[in-house]
């Protein structure tokens, strides 16, 4: 019985009203293996994980932890105590509480109900140091941390639980290459300690880098569980999508035209130096940089989301009004923000409304919506994005993470903007859908838009962009040509260590 699976699922089913999220899924994760879970957006990966952790109740099927059957109705606390730890796809930290309280939530060191603050601090510091955050003050409130740090804190929390099974649901979406690489090292170390790991990611090379076996889900059904070594990227994609994807990145496009977007001496809050940058019609400019290098701040300021201390944003040579996002949108700029939940979606509203909101003026006359137009407009914007949903009027919160992201792409596509600023546009999006989004971006560029893409995923920038600007410590550190540059070149330019070379 040496190889008893840490967890095993048999014939698990889960439906949400009319949606069947999982249908007869089997899964076994062995100690000391990294088991990847692959599938398109909405395939049911997160749902499966929620069932493993007791966050959702399964409708049918068996669930065993170390051979012990689990009760059909499971609470997260029971699952955790049985040894299942998880890093959720959507951040689940409590923003108003401190880092240490978040890390110890649910199992505070205490004596008779009274918190042992010293031990709490020690525990927190120990957990943080495992993800390279030893320097972070555990008494900082989570609300004050940038997204990437929050993700690391979340990972620290799970690592600190000494679980038998650790589940990662897209842990690297908010991380840069460096942090992601460090995380993979951590996962390997966990595996070597005999911990079972269930790993979900839409980044193929990550799966190939650490995966021992892979289970593929499609439309809530099990496709197969196979050794990772038996797959190539192509066969894995084929298994996930059920079709082949000829090329992930769009091919050649027609040349670029006039300068469409120009940042002239733009200085967002926190920037010491003004930034000058121009993007031509038809051009896709990538912005590379480490976490916190200021890429998002730059985009936000150019869109009027944050105040500009100095400088001007020009669209087609005319100064754009960046006093507010609304004004910027009217000047023809659109911004897809990086944090879907906090500054992108209106979660309670329907998918349809979420897509239409930025361009609602286009389907109304004198402020009154035109009958029938909204649906048409929205359907056109979502065309080719393969958004998986039940009904246009379902709340956008019912969509899987990747599909939520697609609705945001559709939102900005619908505006007919001249300039699109996309901050991590493929965050949490599957391969097939990435190809769809890249294609849509390329189409938009081909239609004459100037597009700026911020991404922490370098292959994407190299594959998609015409030109890459590297941001380092709130300065443009240089440019790279995707046709020639390698990931190392870009990283080199982005890292502060090499700063002296620049001067």
């Amino acid at each position: 019985m040496a190889d008893t699976a840490v967890i095993s699922l048999r014939g698990v089913r889960k439906t949400y009203r009319a949606v069947t999220a999982l249908d007869g899924v089997d899964l076994e994760v062995l100690p000391g293996e990294v088991h990847c879970l692959a599938g398109e957006n909405g395939a049911g990966k997160s749902t499966l994980i929620k069932i493993l952790t007791g966050a959702e109740t399964r409708d049918a099927g068996e669930y065993l932890v170390s051979g012990e059957p689990m009760r059909p109705v499971l609470t997260p606390a029971v699952a955790r105590d049985a040894g299942v730890g998880v890093v959720y796809q959507e951040l689940s930290l409590l923003p108003e509480l401190t880092v240490s309280a978040n890390l110890c939530m649910g199992r505070f060191p205490s004596r008779a109900g009274f918190r042992d603050l010293r031990r709490q601090r020690e525990m927190a510091t120990a957990m943080l140091s495992r993800v390279g955050l030893a320097e972070l003050d555990p008494e900082t409130r989570v609300a004050e941390l940038p997204t990437a740090t929050r993700q690391l804190v979340e990972i620290a929390r799970v690592l600190g639980q000494n679980a038998k099974l650790v589940i990662f649901d897209e842990p690297t979406t908010a991380l840069s290459e460096q942090e992601a690489a460090a995380l993979l090292d951590r996962i390997r170390a966990l595996r070597d300690e005999g911990v079972a790991v269930l790993y979900v990611s839409h980044r193929m090379e990550e799966m190939f880098a650490i995966g021992d076996r892979v289970t593929v889900l499609r439309d809530g059904r099990l496709v197969a569980t196979e050794p990772m070594a038996g797959h190539t990227e192509d066969t894995l994609v084929q298994a996930m999508v059920g079709r082949t994807i000829e090329s992930l990145y769009p091919g050649e496009r027609a040349g670029t035209g006039q300068v469409r977007l120009e940042l002239r001496g733009v200085r967002p809050v926190g920037f010491d130096e003004p930034v000058d940058l121009s993007v031509r019609s038809g051009e896709i400019l990538g912005l590379a940089g480490l976490l916190g290098s200021g890429r998002s701040e730059l985009l936000r300021a150019a869109f009027g989301a944050d105040p500009l201390l100095a400088g001007q944003v020009l669209v087609d040579g005319r100064p754009a009004d960046t006093s507010s996002p609304r004004a910027a949108a009217r000047s023809g700029i659109g911004l897809l923000t990086e944090d879907r939940k906090e500054s992108g979606l209106m979660l309670g509203l329907s998918i349809e409304k979420n897509v239409a909101m930025a361009s609602i003026g286009a389907v109304s006359s004198f402020g009154v919506l035109r009958r029938g137009k909204v649906r048409e407009h929205v359907a056109a914007a979502a065309d080719g994005l393969r958004v998986k949903f039940g009904d246009w009027t379902d709340p956008v919160s019912s969509l899987s993470g990747g599909n939520q992201q697609k609705t945001l792409v559709a939102r900005w596509r619908a505006t007919g903007a001249k300039v699109l600023l996309l901050d991590e546009p493929t965050k949490g999006v599957d391969v097939g859908a990435k190809a769809d989004i890249y294609r849509v971006i390329a189409e938009l560029a081909a239609a004459g838009l100037a597009v700026v893409v911020v991404s922490s995923y370098l292959p994407e920038l190299l594959g998609l962009c015409d030109r890459i600007a590297v941001v380092r410590q709130r300065r443009i550190a240089g440019f790279a040509d995707p046709a020639e540059a390698t990931e190392e070149d870009v990283l080199h330019l982005a890292s502060p260590v090499t700063a002296q070379e620049a001067s």
Partner: protein, 353 residues
């Protein structure tokens, strides 16, 4: 507002593998029967149940006189509730509506008071509406521009408006009011009192504004997530300002109608109406966390409370028991709604406030 019945098993990813049924014409925007039994229009089944029970229990419930009474009684609350709903949709709260009812009532009454030399009725009404809208606008400015918590802002305004009302009248009732003024609420068209008509008019108009105009969509967007809305190009401040101003305006309108109905400008009138209006919205399916609720729901909520009060008097229930019974019935009404609509597991504590 999902239409579960008519959506086929929500199918696969867009176009490619399964063909999705062609997007239906925009019928989802049209009110269909199935909507009525949806939490979005919360309370309609409850309303019908109460009405049915009352018509069995008393002979007098289904008489024309009584329904007329009911319309008159509920209309004032319903109009305030519809205004309150706007603010609630933006995830705010307006505690000042009760005081604005009082203020607008005495402003209108004072303006028409001196029968000779008093302002023409129409002008007096406009004056009162302007005062109410201005009070609402001040709330809006403090919330939207100075970013103060709506609860405190409108609590402050509640005290200020009531104080101003008392100052204006010296705490005395303003009367007698001329017949032209009392005719506003007193009259009737096709045998149905003006008050009832006005209540229906306000509800239908607001329902239309919320469903069919860009502004209406913006109101929901702001309530759902103000930051997301701002970054989507929604003019958040103007939307908030308009919601608070309209809430004030409708409260003032209710105040004028109340003064007209009573033939008196009573400085204490409207006291406590804020809670009733909020309750009506919530009974009608609105969430105090914003972005959830409809104008029709607010009307239904007001009717539910109105029916309980009306039924209580018709049945001659002891007032102490009536108070208990209304409390219990409100709980049952919302609880029943919740259980029915609660198929999808909601979180404790996250339950719509």
């Amino acid at each position: 507002m999902t239409d579960v019945a008519s959506a086929p098993a929500p199918s696969a990813a867009g176009g490619k593998r399964k063909r999705r049924p062609r997007p239906r014409p925009a019928d989802s925007e049209i009110l269909r029967l199935s909507h009525l039994f949806d939490r979005g229009f919360g309370g309609i089944p409850v309303l019908l149940a109460i009405a049915f029970a009352l018509s069995l229990a008393t002979d007098s419930f289904l008489t024309g006189t009584n329904l007329d009474n009911l319309g008159r009684q509920v209309s004032i609350y319903a109009i305030i509730a519809v205004g309150q709903l706007l603010v609630i949709l933006t995830a705010g709260i307006d505690l000042s509506v009760g005081s604005v009812v009082g203020l607008a009532g005495v402003v209108a009454a004072t303006a028409v008071f001196e029968t000779s030399g008093g302002l023409p009725v129409a002008l007096a009404v406009v004056l009162a509406l302007v005062v109410g809208a201005a009070a609402g606008l001040i709330n809006g400015v403090l919330v939207a521009v100075l970013r103060m918590p709506p609860f405190i802002v409108t609590l402050g305004m509640m005290g200020i408006a009531r104080g101003a009302t008392l100052l204006l009248t010296d705490g005395r009732t303003v009367q007698p009011l001329p017949a032209e003024f009392t005719a506003i609420a007193g009259g009737s068209v096709f045998g149905v009192s003006n008050l009832t008509w006005l209540m229906l008019l306000v509800t239908v108009l607001m329902a239309w504004l919320l469903r069919r105009t860009v502004w209406g969509q913006y109101v929901y967007a702001v309530g759902s997530n103000a930051e997301s809305a701002r970054l989507t190009g929604v003019p958040v401040r103007p939307v908030l300002l308009s919601a608070y101003a309209l809430s004030g305006l409708l409260a003032a309108f209710a105040g004028v109608l109340l003064a007209s109905r009573l033939g008196n400008g009573v400085p204490t009138s409207g006291t406590g109406y804020e809670l009733q209006a909020i309750a009506a919205c919530v009974i009608g399916g609105a969430s105090l966390f914003g972005a959830k609720g409809t104008a029709l729901g607010a009307l239904v909520g007001a009717l539910v409370v109105g029916l309980l009060n009306n039924g209580g008097t018709l049945l001659g229930v002891d007032p102490f028991w009536l108070q208990i019974a209304i409390g219990v019935l409100i709980l049952i009404a919302v609880g029943a709604e919740n259980l029915r609509g609660g198929g999808k597991s909601r979180l404790p504590g996250m339950a719509a406030r």
